[in-house]
């Protein structure tokens, strides 16, 4: 508990957490409709299993996860499917196919839902499969399906489960609120996750700026008396909650470049995911809701809200007192890595831990920024938790020099935004690197496609050649036979 290790570099940022953190979690009443994005934030979509006009109950599966990076989606309220169409969403690329369900006000619950009576009676494999069916996904911000992480942890023999309660990004405090109010759920979920991952110990990591959460979780752990479940307090340094940085801080190991946490013997899950696992185990409830921080100078009453997945953000903002002043950006996530959304019609996703309604007061520094030439001050490199040289990466990115970009580690960038934050020349570095990665991926895909096409072409040519040769040979042999016959008959006549 007393360990105060941390990762190299990083920065202490203004937390902006007091705005939303003082009040208890509000339960949002069921909205009139929900907009369920099939891409819940990972870039991979689930497959719809309902059609427009279908009636659904609370907990009915509406989209099936075929891809390991997609998560199953369930109806969070009873009603009718009124649309399945592409809409603006908090998904990769800003759009996703969405299932829109109009609530009918009833409390019909899907008959298939039942609690897991005894998680210990299920084999780890069964636990993983059933979490997959329940659409359990990482609530920390990435929305990655928990089952896929657990499966790779099992395959690679990860021994340590780290529960991430660092919550390092400014503005966000939903995990803090959840740990304070439902620490027992977090701890119960930790045990189930530990079993499913095949890990022998579990460490819950919380930043030292959350004393109430630390006290609550400490109490829950003491009630449980499990020696292989411990709490580690880590310093509040951004990005302490980034998976790789937290692993280094807690376990003292580094995740290999291009590898998975499990390669370092660790698997990470968010504390809110653990609480959701406990909810699923005790109530049989698939992932139907999450706690989300609604904050920023652009809402009247910042706070934490438990809301159904798919709740239009407008309803969340209304529950927080509505818009205040002139909101300029609607940010899904915190001020450092959050994605700015075009409209409040977008539905809440599993990955969305915060809705930051930002006015000029919150983002003025960025709005007034004028880009100047890089003066090579090196502040970016000093802040970079991945040990990169952003100023050299920038030059490689502008030159589109792919080999240099790879060598300088453009893919080791964790997109924390710190280089951007500290840059005195106010260069939008993080976005330049995102762009460079996208172009790099595209080029690599193109090169692979070209290589495939060339191979296919060569093989095709080869096959044609073989066919032609075979035909020639067949022709030649027929001709030879005919000639022999002719010769024979000619011989006969002579």
């Amino acid at each position: 508990m007393a360990a105060r290790s941390t990762f190299p570099a990083g920065l202490v940022l203004d937390a902006h957490k007091q705005q939303a953190c003082g009040t208890p979690i509000i339960e949002l009443p069921l909205p009139t409709h929900v907009v369920l994005a099939l891409d819940q934030g990972t870039g991979y979509s689930a497959e719809p299993v309902v059609a427009v006009g279908d009636a659904v109950a609370t907990g009915t599966l509406v989209a099936r996860a075929d891809h390991p990076y997609a998560s199953a989606v369930h109806a969070p309220l009873a009603g009718i499917v009124v649309a399945i169409e592409t809409r603006e969403a908090a998904a990769q690329g800003g759009r996703s196919v969405c299932i829109v369900i109009e609530g009918d006000g009833s409390d019909r619950i899907d008959a298939s839902l039942r609690p897991v009576t005894d998680p210990a009676s299920l084999s780890p494999e069964e636990l993983v499969q059933r979490m997959r069916d329940a659409g359990i996904a990482g609530l920390g911000g990435a929305g990655f399906p928990t089952s896929s992480k657990l499966a790779s942890a099992r395959d690679l023999g990860a021994q340590t489960l780290i529960l991430n309660g660092a919550e390092c990004e400014p503005w966000i405090c939903c995990d803090d609120a959840l740990m304070r109010s439902a620490a027992d759920d977090v701890v119960l979920g930790a045990l189930i996750l530990r079993r499913a991952a095949g890990a022998v110990r579990c460490v819950i990591a919380i930043e030292d700026d959350k004393p109430a959460a630390i006290a609550a979780v400490t109490g829950a752990i003491e009630r449980l008396r499990d020696d292989a479940l411990t709490l580690v307090v880590v310093p509040a340094v951004y990005p302490q909650g980034a998976e790789r940085q937290l692993i280094t801080a807690v376990a003292g190991v580094e995740v290999p470049s291009g590898g998975l946490p499990a390669d370092a013997g660790v698997v990470c899950q968010n504390v809110a995911t653990a609480a959701a696992v406990a909810r699923w185990a005790t109530r049989g409830e698939p992932m139907l809701s999450r706690v989300v921080t609604v904050t920023g100078s652009g809402v009247w009453h910042p706070g934490n809200v438990r809301a159904p997945i798919g709740t239009p953000l407008a309803a969340l903002i209304a529950a927080s007192g509505g818009y205040r002043g002139t909101p300029l950006r609607l940010i899904a996530g915190g001020s450092m890595t959050g994605r700015a959304l075009p409209s409040d019609e977008v539905g809440l996703t599993k990955a969305m831990n915060c809705v930051l309604v930002a006015t000029r007061d919150d983002i003025g520094s960025r709005l007034g920024a004028v880009e100047l030439p890089c003066i090579r001050c090196g502040d970016c490199a000093s802040a970079c938790p991945a040990g990169l040289l952003p100023q050299q990466l920038l030059r490689a990115a502008l030159a589109d020099a792919h080999d240099t970009l790879r060598q300088l580690g453009v893919r080791d960038c964790i997109d924390c935004g710190l280089c951007d934050y500290v840059c005195p020349s106010q260069i939008p570095l993080a976005d330049r690197f995102r762009d460079a990665r996208r172009r790099l991926n595209e080029t690599e895909a193109m090169v692979k496609k070209a290589a495939d096409a060339r191979e296919r072409h060569d093989l095709h040519k080869h096959r044609l050649q073989e066919a032609a040769t075979a035909e020639q040979q067949a022709f030649a042999s027929v001709r030879d036979r005919a000639r022999r016959r002719d010769d024979d008959s000619a011989g006969d006549t002579n």
């Binding site: 007192g321 509505g322 300029l328 700015a340 520094s365 935004g417």
Partner: protein, 362 residues
């Protein structure tokens, strides 16, 4: 919380016309901008400037004014020739830092046209031929200084006798001398004996004439209690300004510490081996341009190495080369050449001091 004005709530909930800006993350920045850094650097030079004016007369202020005017004009002209917008570059303050550093380095008696020439060369040849701010491999001020030093050695090594030397003229006479020098009057009969070489220069020529160091330092017009007469105070003030920059996190410790280490460690050893001819660390630290270089010149990020480890090598190289030039070279101080030589080595240093990326083998 939900009990807020219900009507407003419903109205807000049914608004559908809100569109938001979707600019990429991060949505905040520290806002510690290049102009703010540059003006902090200028501010940190104020103590050294006060010491300079108090000890050597107002010549520095004259040199500063001509350097600043020339620098702004040269910057504007260069940007115009390059077809760029001059306004943001003039406001970023970087060219004023160049002007200040050059004005602090040249003698306060220098005729104004040499100050102007040096500044123009610094800005044009030191900065803009390479592509302007951020692109110059050499420290612009040192480019200007080095050209002046090799082209006008007599003018560039003639300093007023500082106020803290016994028998120095009054400050108002120093002022008159500075004006005369600035306008290019011949500084002959009237000022004879009140201009001369710097302390480091006197020591170098004294040692060449086979004097011993204790003899030279005992003369009273060269060394004070701490370092060189006059320059010790300027160095102290520059040290104070430099520490302020470190406190404000504008300058990180690596380069200043390495420069001082590179200079002081060899001088400590040499002084221990032969105190008759080798200057000790205190004299080295508080004479010439030591502190100005360690905190203000070598720390110019554009022409320095980029990684922390690289900056240690870069700074140590500057200190060591300056020590070598001071000990054996043809110039009394040597920091300008040390900086320029290590500027040349930066691409090499950067190549071999790339930090280890997280999760990769060293």
């Amino acid at each position: 919380m939900i009990a807020h004005d219900d009507a407003t709530m419903i109205l807000q909930a049914i608004r559908t016309d809100m569109r938001f800006d979707t600019s990429p993350a991060p949505h905040v920045i520290a806002g510690y901008t290049v102009p703010r850094i540059m003006f902090q650097v200028l501010f940190a030079l104020v103590p050294a400037g006060i010491a300079h004016v108090a000890l050597f007369g107002p010549g520095l202020l004259l040199q500063l004014s001509v350097a600043c005017v020339t620098a702004l004009l040269a910057e504007a002209a260069a940007l115009r020739w390059r077809g760029r917008d001059a306004a943001p570059a003039l406001k970023d303050g970087s060219v004023l830092v160049t002007a200040f550093l050059l004005a602090f380095s040249i003698p306060p008696l220098l005729p104004w046209w040499l100050g102007a020439l040096g500044t123009a060369l610094a800005v044009l040849l030191g900065k803009h031929v390479f592509g302007g701010l951020g692109q110059n491999p050499f420290n612009p001020a040192m480019v200007g200084y080095a050209i002046l030093l090799v082209s006008f050695p007599a003018e560039m090594t003639r300093w007023p006798v500082p106020m803290d030397v016994d028998g120095a003229r009054t400050w108002s006479e120093l002022a008159r001398m500075s004006y005369a020098g600035f306008y290019g009057a011949e500084l002959t009969a009237r000022w004879d004996g009140y201009t001369g070489a710097t302390a480091l220069d006197s020591i170098r020529s004294g040692l060449n004439l086979r004097y011993t160091l204790p003899e030279l330092l005992g003369r009273g017009d060269i060394a004070g209690t701490l370092g060189a007469r006059g320059f010790a105070w300027i160095n102290l003030a520059a040290l104070a300004g430099g520490l302020y920059l470190m406190l404000r996190r504008i300058v990180r410790w690596h380069i200043p510490v390495a420069v001082l280490g590179g200079l002081l460690v060899p001088s400590f050893i040499a002084h221990g081996l032969d105190s008759g001819i080798a200057l000790g660390p205190a004299m080295q630290a508080f004479s010439g341009a030591t502190m100005l270089t360690a905190f203000f010149i070598a720390t110019d990020p554009v022409s320095a190495a980029t990684s922390d480890r690289g900056r240690l090598w870069y700074g140590a190289g500057i200190g060591l080369i300056a020590w070598i030039i001071r000990t054996w070279g043809g110039y009394p101080d040597g920091f300008a050449f040390a900086v320029l030589l290590m500027n040349l080595a930066v691409p090499f240093i950067d190549r071999y001091t790339v930090p280890r990326i997280y999760g990769r083998q060293p």
